[in-house]
């Protein structure tokens, strides 16, 4: 078996505060292979976001937050990297988009200048930065890109803001895109458009995607593999069709039961009984 692009071994994350120690992630393992999409599902607070942030050490420094375990990107030990080397990975090799596009862009800078920042940082050889930005905006389906680069984030709709985030993430051609609930804050119709866009760029660029979501519908149509997180642990992991058709862990089963299937009449709403699962 060839070595995966990104591999995570026994990742543990804990937050220390006056109230005590919060073990947010309790030793998880997963790999991301080049060009493949891994979906991470699980209820909110199960540790999905902090795991994703830990991949490039984007969490607060000790003593507030302690990260243990191993993260290897393309053979490099991310945990042992100097912060200067780490900055070459962030945005250049592993790029992020987040849940809330309206607050993820800096309100006082134009979208063009925020994209330019990434280009100047990671691709200093590029002469015509402006043309590059316009091209990037074009590729995520933003019309009149020449005019839009002078816009401030608040002048765009939520869907457009997320497209800008995607353009900014993709502009340096990363090999992994981490999308942390990229559609949760958007309207349903916009959600579908953004997922279509992600599918399209994935086909064009061949990049790998780590998709965090709690929507099994999206997992089914979008991902190759899925990992189910529950209270800081990955309770089930495998190819999507296998996990969805034959869920082994009761939590996965419970999650699947929560999705209303089309054409299926349901007697009552299923809720997850946490106490039973936690044993």
């Amino acid at each position: 078996m060839e070595t995966p692009l990104l591999s995570v071994k026994d990742l543990r994350i804990q937050f220390n505060s006056r109230e005590g120690v919060n073990e947010a992630v309790k030793g998880i393992n997963f790999d991301i292979e080049a060009g493949k999409t891994l979906a991470v599902v699980g209820e909110s607070g199960s540790g999905k976001s902090v795991s994703a942030m830990a991949l490039t050490r984007l969490l607060p420094k000790p003593p507030i937050c302690e990260i243990n375990g191993q993260v290897h990107y393309d053979g490099q030990d991310v945990m042992a990297m100097s912060s200067a080397d780490l900055r070459h990975i962030r945005g250049k090799e592993i790029a992020y988009i987040f849940q809330e596009p309206s607050v993820s862009l800096n309100p006082v800078f134009t979208i063009g200048s925020q994209i330019a920042e990434a280009i100047k940082l990671h691709m200093p050889h590029i002469k015509d930065v402006n043309a590059h930005i316009i091209d990037a905006l074009d590729k995520v389906g933003i019309r009149d890109a020449e005019k839009r680069i002078k816009d401030y984030p608040h002048q765009l709709s939520g869907g457009m803001q997320q497209r800008v985030m995607i353009a900014m993430a993709l502009v340096c051609e990363p090999r992994i895109l981490v999308a942390d609930e990229p559609t949760t804050a958007l309207d349903v119709t916009i959600q579908a458009q953004i997922m279509d866009l992600l599918r399209e760029v994935r086909e064009r660029t061949g990049m790998a995607i780590l998709l965090i979501t709690h929507n099994f519908g999206i997992v089914n149509h979008f991902a190759d593999d899925v990992a189910v997180m529950f209270r800081g642990e990955i309770v089930e992991r495998g190819p999507v069709d296998q996990v969805l058709s034959k869920p082994e862990h009761p939590y996965t089963q419970a999650l699947l039961d929560c999705i209303p299937r089309l054409g299926e009449k349901r007697e009552r709403l299923t809720t997850i009984d946490h106490d039973k699962l936690a044993v």
């Binding site: 490039t56 984007l58 809330e100 607050v103 993820s104 920042e117 940082l121 900014m168």
Partner: protein, 326 residues
């Protein structure tokens, strides 16, 4: 934007009318008037006093005085100072300049020190530096201005490094222009320092909390995830946003400085508006009191307006809404 500025300036008019009305009311309620000390002198005849009362309009009911004053005020005649024997408007002009110069110097001094300190305290939140600067800020805030002023006067008088009191030296008028500027600056340093010290603590605390709030914003996460260095994240992305609340408090805090300058001006016998108001009040120099209070209010409103314009310039969300820019 221009429409907005004009609207704000027009809104000043009813406010000033109201303030003048209140001032006339208050002055009518306080016992005595400018002529009180003269009336006490036995050798001045009643006829002469009545003549003076007529001359100053003090024999009328205060509402009539108000309307008479108003009639002149619309022609930019703010009345006559009983004590200085010159038109009030003439007195105010130079005093306003001196006071605004003092307040702005104190503010610039305070900002230059407080902004970097507040920023550092925020970045190193919880560190010894943060705690120490919080204590110092609190000490500076609670130090009475006149007390610090007296200490400063004492120290400077002992060492003789700076002139004490006044706005210019005696030979000021005979100096070349750059020496005049230096002369004024030398007179300004001490009162501006004393006035600014209390303000440092205030600005620092606002800056610190604004910076800490902004550090937790989502876009900071985006900036880091992009690969920017911590310096770029802090001094570009965070600072540029954290400064906006500072601009909006600028107008408000300017009123602290103006009222603070009242005491400072008296301690340093600095010929500003505060000093003028103080002596006008003591002598019940009615038109001068009213004129200087109104000028202080105007200065305040204009400062708030400048703050709003600066904020609009700094924050595109404000600039581009309210139909401002187009």
């Amino acid at each position: 934007m221009i429409g907005f500025i004009i609207r704000r300036i027009l809104a000043l008019i009813p406010m000033l009318l109201g303030i003048a009305f209140l001032m006339f009311l208050l002055m009518s309620l306080t016992p005595g008037d400018f002529l009180t000390p003269i009336r006490m002198q036995r050798d001045i005849s009643d006829e002469y006093i009545q003549q003076l009362e007529r001359q100053f309009g003090l024999d009328q009911h205060w509402t009539i005085q108000y309307f008479l004053w108003l009639k002149n005020a619309v022609q930019f005649d703010l009345g006559y100072s009983f004590a200085y024997k010159v038109p009030v408007a003439e007195l105010l002009g130079e005093r306003i300049f001196a006071t605004v110069l003092l307040a702005i110097s104190a503010m610039v001094f305070a900002w230059i020190i407080a902004i970097p300190l507040g920023m550092l305290a925020a970045i190193k939140k919880g560190s010894i530096f943060d705690r120490l600067s919080s204590i110092l800020a609190f000490a500076a805030l609670s130090m009475p201005e006149f007390f610090l002023g007296l200490i400063a006067v004492y120290v400077v008088a002992q060492t003789g490094i700076l002139p004490i009191g006044g706005f210019t030296s005696i030979e000021h008028d005979y100096l070349p222009w750059f020496a005049q500027v230096i002369d004024i600056a030398k007179h300004l340093i001490l009162p501006a320092f004393v006035l600014g010290v209390g303000y440092i603590g205030y600005v620092m605390r606002i800056m610190r909390s604004s910076f800490i709030d902004t550090m937790h914003a989502e876009f900071v996460k985006t900036a880091r995830a992009k690969g920017l260095s911590e310096n770029k994240v802090m001094f570009k992305h965070v600072l540029r946003n954290a400064i906006n609340p500072m601009i909006s408090v600028f107008g408000l805090t300017f009123s602290f400085l103006l009222s603070g300058s009242l005491i400072i001006e008296i301690v340093f016998s600095y010929p500003g508006l505060g000093n003028l108001i103080y002596f006008a009040l003591i002598r019940e120099d009615q038109f001068l009191v009213i004129g200087s209070v109104m000028m202080s209010c105007t200065v305040l409103v204009i400062c708030n307006l400048i703050a709003d314009i600066l904020l609009a310039w700094s924050d595109p969300r404000i600039r581009l809404s309210e139909g401002g820019a187009e």
